[in-house]
Symmetry: C2
Subunit: 555 residues, 2 copies
């Protein structure tokens, strides 16, 4: 039985799910021994620990001296070293591997990719520990977002890749009637070929979740892939690449089809991204580097997930406390180090109507600060939710915010001691207050646990401000709280124009910064925060081309 047949049910269910967009997940998000096996937690931890202090071997082409660029936000000594490979050698090896991969055909390619995803799922605990240690995510998020949720996104990309490729026939007979004469008959063959070598550039916060869609979309559509992880979050990508390379070798294919490029030199990444043989670049990260890629990589299709100004408008609510709790959790989760975390909370200066009566703008800010305090009251809960701060730049930003540089401090960030990791840099969110006119404060992305309560003239002004911010600076998420239908309609229409996803009156255990594979499009691809979406047809359809040949059929 081929790999496609083995996973056909899974692949077809994924295609169905992405078309229906209801709830579906291929993989359990609970790190439960009942699901993953009794020994899975301990085995995964041991597998992770076995990497520490070791050289991570992949047997790639062009290996040179090794570097160990990772720094754990938890203060864990990682010491994993990775051989630096010559970029040109990686490209050459990738190109060489592509011909056989193309000839395999879409069906077997998708089958092999599905097998890879299933194998990655089996290693969710190991990968989760690697994600947690390198990114600073809390354990549960590291398991879910780093493991099954990332695998779901991979499978979603495969579903689209399969849907698009499976509709192209391998062969057709073209028979054109000629009146009373015999028809003209031609045989046509259609070969799906990849665009070329794909470069997938990972980020430091979600090294699997943001890498898998591009990786598997490019791979399934016939391309070789070079994964270039963030130098601070290499291990999760390295494990992933090793799993795929092993599978390729088992199947008699050239493992160099997928390789890892470890570097802490931006020039190396820039040279790779503009290499004539690199036909697509998937990137998650800063606007600065993303814009550089969009400007300079004219030889490649660039799929860029950048940053934006996510925000929530509060007009009114019938569930004041639940709203505050929902917002507080969003602001605290992974210390706001998500590309989807809310940065600005827009409140009319006259305040809002709630089920607990009228609340002034100032009261909303104070009550939100109190909700954050409530959520973080127990240190073990606080540490589990907040995780640790991934980068020095974010730590520095928190200090600046605490100093009141960008607005009045409603709630200052505090350092919190982590019970298990004494060196962990854990910080609670800082909440600032400013006015709509203080654009230099809140209309610049302040990545990390920094949020603004922005006083706006009224709800209409807030809606207009939202539309302008998204069009100008981009956003991945917008939220709104209102009990008035006309307000919901107006913000809905504004988000159609600014092309951003909207969450309405979230009070339960669903948060504006979370998106569910197969149901929620992550980014619309229609505003400056991202030029592509996870995942849709556009995310896969231009990664391959169809080369046809035609010839007469003898009468």
């Amino acid at each position: 039985m081929g790999l496609f047949e083995r996973h056909q049910g899974l692949i077809e269910r994924a295609v169905q799910a992405s078309a229906e967009r209801g709830y579906w997940s291929a993989f359990s998000e609970m790190p439960s021994p009942k699901v993953y096996g009794e020994s899975a937690p301990a085995d995964g931890k041991a597998a992770f620990e076995a990497h520490l202090g070791q050289r991570f071997e992949l047997g790639q082409a062009g290996q040179g001296a090794a570097i160990a660029p990772e720094v754990s936000p938890y203060g864990v000594a990682l010491g994993v070293s990775y051989p630096v490979c010559d970029a040109q050698t990686l490209v050459d090896a990738a190109q060489k591997a592509m011909a056989a991969w193309q000839r395999l055909g879409a069906r077997e390619r998708v089958g092999l990719c599905a097998e890879a995803v299933v194998r990655l799922n089996a290693r969710s605990f190991e990968i989760a520990h690697a994600v947690m240690a390198t990114t600073g995510q809390g354990w549960m998020m590291a398991f879910q977002a780093g493991g099954p949720h990332a695998q779901d996104r991979a499978l979603e990309a495969l579903a689209y890749a399969w849907a698009e490729q499976s509709r192209i026939p391998a062969q057709a007979v073209w028979e054109k009637p000629q009146g009373k004469n015999p028809p003209i008959r031609m045989r046509k063959d259609f070969e799906i070929v990849g665009r070329g070598v794909a470069l997938v550039i990972g980020c430091g916060t979600f090294p699997t979740w943001n890498t898998y869609p591009g990786l598997f979309a490019a791979l399934a559509t016939g391309n070789a892939v070079i994964v270039k992880p963030h130098p601070h979050a290499v291990l999760p990508a390295a494990i992933t690449v090793r799993v795929i390379r092993q599978l390729l070798a088992e199947q008699g294919l050239d493992a160099n089809l997928v390789s890892l490029c470890v570097t802490d030199q931006p020039e190396v990444t820039q040279a790779l991204a503009t290499h004539p043989a690199v036909a697509s670049v998937d990137f998650t990260g800063s606007n600065a580097f993303g814009q550089w890629l969009l400007e300079h990589c004219q030889q490649a299709q660039v799929y860029a997930e950048l940053a934006g100004l996510n925000h929530v408008l509060i007009d009114s609510t019938s569930a004041y406390k639940a709203m505050l709790d929902n917002l507080a959790f969003t602001l605290c989760l992974y210390s706001g180090q998500m590309c989807t975390t809310t940065q600005a909370i827009l409140v009319p200066q006259a305040g809002i109507e709630t089920d607990e009566g009228h609340k002034s703008a100032e009261a909303v800010g104070a009550d939100l600060a109190a909700a954050i305090d409530r959520l973080l009251a127990k240190p073990e809960v606080a540490c589990a939710v907040l995780g640790a701060i991934q980068s020095d730049a974010t730590l520095a930003r928190i200090e600046q915010a605490n100093a009141g540089q960008w607005g009045r401090v409603i709630r200052a960030s505090q350092a919190i001691a982590h019970p298990d990791f004494p060196q962990a840099r854990v910080r609670s969110p800082v909440l600032l207050a400013c006015g709509a006119a203080d654009e230099q404060a809140y209309q610049i992305e302040r990545f990390g646990p920094i949020a603004f309560v922005v006083t706006v003239a009224d709800t209409d002004a807030a809606i207009a401000l939202s539309e302008r911010m998204v069009k100008q600076h981009g956003a991945l998420t917008v939220g709104v709280y209102s009990t008035r239908q006309e307000v919901l309609q107006a913000i809905t229409e504004a988000t159609w124009r600014s092309r951003v996803a909207l969450s309405i009156n979230l009070t339960g255990p669903v948060f504006v910064n979370q998106s569910a594979a197969f149901s929620d499009y992550h980014a619309t691809g229609g505003n400056p925060a991202a030029n592509a979406s996870y995942a849709d047809s556009a995310f896969v359809a231009n990664r391959f081309r169809v080369v046809q040949r035609r010839q007469h059929i003898a009468a």
Copy 2:
């Protein structure tokens, strides 16, 4: 009955045809009164003639003074004048019209577009006369390529636009199980929104065939469209835009959703193409302007159909005469003024084996010249096949080629008197001989009736040369003649690497420069000649975005 219901059978048949890729055409390619109505030929001619010397009114926003930029290659006095509209006003009006068009939904948009295509079909004679008079095409080609074949390509784009959009549900219920607790239930709404104003830039040779795919793909996916025709071929586009505007108005929609921008100032086109509100540009034309667009239109998706070095390899044949006749027709048809016409014919220096014995490379050139002479022996046939020379630049190139500047003249171009149009500039093809090393001769596009018989070391060298030319300069078509399976396999694999369509041993009434809608992909989009294909999912999927909203469903 809505317009979608009215055309549902047609649309669904087109979706099926594009998936099966056998022969199918929605519209008759014969200019027959039996199909189009007894009075259609005369009515169409009269409708065309009624435009001559008149101001073409579209009632657009921002109208200023009119210009009459068209020059007929047949020497017909056209004198049609078109109001020049302020570009910013056109953009503003287009943006204003988009909201209602979006709200109409994909289904009604596709239905309206299908109605437009059917109405265009009914005006095929009028449009054919306009195409013939402006481009210099012969009558039969003007009717077929300007009418039904262009309409087929439009319908093909609609089929893809419908297939991609119809798979996105308008609404979904997301219900996530919570063990023993009640599930989390969310309602999600998905709105398809266009990317923004689309600019479709036409060419001087195929003003409908190369304009309709982008026009209808953009329109059906929710965008407003500004059509910018080549200043020498405005009338076919103007009639098209008028048909769509009338239909929009009838349906109570804002006609400014589709507008015509007539200008002979490249700066106006450049300003439009780089306008922040312009989100996509479809372009057919020169490499120089195409490259300018790709470099400067970073705010837009650019779909560029440029030029390349189309070529045919001759290794051997079992039908020497039929091969020569097939090649001769390709070189003569519309005087080689097609982006798909063969420019170089690669022949091994030792000659080729044929059913008529061994033929030296020189003999192949001489016999091809003789085949051209045979085809053009009767002046009325010659004029019907050749049509007239569209541009002064092509006329000048023919003179240069005739002067032997780029190689030994095997067959010189001659001026031919047209029986019906004394002022028509009709020229027969010029055939040159050169060696593979004379890259400055044949490896530069020589648009028009100029072809080279290039002597190459051997077939292997010809295959390698083909691959290199396509990768470096691009090509829309490659042909091969060989009786040897290993040669066909080698060139097939070369075209997979260079990503170009291949026609094998064409000897019947199918020509390398022709592509059939629903079956042949026009361009692969994978080499420098074009970054997109007519038509595939990639041609439509990135022209729209999905904006979602989600909210709890009360328990």
